[in-house]
Symmetry: C2
């Protein structure tokens, strides 16, 4: 028996196929302008990758902000629930999930069964999300994926403004004053770390801590967050798929 | 006897000369990169305009974020206090001042003597400030001063995101979907109105209400705010100079 989970985020749409024991295939595409169209394309891709026809699929669960646009799913489930289930699947010892996506960030506390005990979400302010890094990378004329590598072990420049708009002006000033790209990149990652930390503090972080979402693919941010929290946070190659994995698990149980 | 008040804001630096009864001259210049330099230039300009030499000036008080950079002033006073005194000078019946500047917004409650009873300030988030309108005007390829006129009496487009960054994406989508510039401009002013209203609600607005700061020169926003508050709010040709006027009054009393 095979189930599928689809997570249509603001930036990327992710899907996984699950056989009750392990993840058999993953697919990821940019969400683009039409979540509905991306959903259809993603379904095709995950079926291809797992060499299945739609008839052979037990059930499909959709999550993420674009889930409302999907017309082929059996059920819609919130990101929070799916992230909880997905993280628990990766490692049942996980009690805190920090998820930083393209346009939001959330902190979820789980119990030993992977059920959500508490959570806090920021989807109102671009600061502390992937969008902040995207805007800043544009300003610095580099790709967002280069920030971590560029920063290396440079001493982070102090960025005073949490606000994306004001921080952008600060970055422009810093560049004009001759601050190095390395130290500015480090400062920007530090800014996301600080904003995330203030979200985490409000929910409380219990060990073990897992870092998911597109932004978790950023090794230096993982290091900063680990240092600030005083625990070694975990990431996984599947970090971007956590929501989709949770959705697939829930679909499997339908 | 003549005193001078200087208010170095994030976008514009303003100065007035005061003779104990009325404002004899005003001057305004862009703040630019160096608040110190702008301050010096502004001092020269206000002295010229009021045909005075520095020796003839009783005292100078500085306010605004750039006041720390001014080395020719006798005293520094916070914006909040200066705005209170300035608004009270314009009309002693004023009990609430809503000030929206280039990078911040504040609501100040005054007693019958013009002393500050309570205030709330937002200088952390670009939403609801002149900066929000500046960013959006850029996106729409118009000057920020054209927004009110462009909007006219168009029905405001609903802008869901309060955040400047997310709202900018919404505006781009709205333009792509063919929404009119008029209705988008109206929606943007409505957004600033809503954000301001939430600040006002937290302090409480008592009649009479005065609207100051650079953004108060926006007639449609004044109308929206009046409608939302249910009172006719007041503006003045001197609205941008309220902080400088308060500073000049305090300087006169030194
Ligand atoms: S602080 Fe900046 S990034 Fe955050 S909501 Fe306000 S405008 Fe947006």
């Amino acid at each position: 028996m095979i189930s599928i989970g689809i997570d249509v985020g603001s930036v990327a749409a992710k899907a996984v196929a699950f056989n009750g024991e392990k993840i058999m295939a993953t697919a990821i595409i940019p969400t683009g302008w039409s979540p509905k169209e991306s959903g259809n394309r993603l379904l095709e891709e995950i079926l291809n990758k797992s060499q299945l026809t739609l008839d052979e699929v037990h059930a499909i669960v959709g999550t993420g902000y674009g889930r409302v646009s999907l017309d082929f799913i059996n059920k819609k489930v919130t990101e929070i629930t799916c992230h909880g289930r997905g993280a628990h699947f990766i490692n049942p010892e996980i009690r805190t999930v920090i998820d930083i996506g393209g346009q939001d960030s959330k902190v979820i506390r789980l119990n030993e069964s992977g059920l959500v005990m508490d959570f806090l979400m920021n989807d109102k302010c671009a600061a502390g999300t992937g969008r902040f890094l995207q805007v800043m990378a544009n300003t610095m004329e580099m790709d967002v994926s280069q920030l971590s590598e560029t920063a290396g072990d440079a001493k982070p420049e102090n960025i005073n403004s949490m606000c994306t708009v004001f921080a952008e002006s600060e970055v422009i000033s810093l560049m004009a004053e001759g601050a190095s790209k390395e130290s500015i990149a480090a400062g920007l990652l530090q800014s996301v770390c600080n904003k995330t930390y203030s979200l985490v503090s409000r929910v409380g972080a219990e060990d073990q801590v897992f870092f998911s979402g597109g932004v978790s693919q950023n090794p230096l941010l993982k290091k900063y967050l680990s240092d600030k929290l005083g625990v070694e946070i975990q990431v996984s190659d599947l970090s971007q798929f956590i929501g989709a994995i949770g959705a697939a698990i829930i679909a499997y149980e339908l």
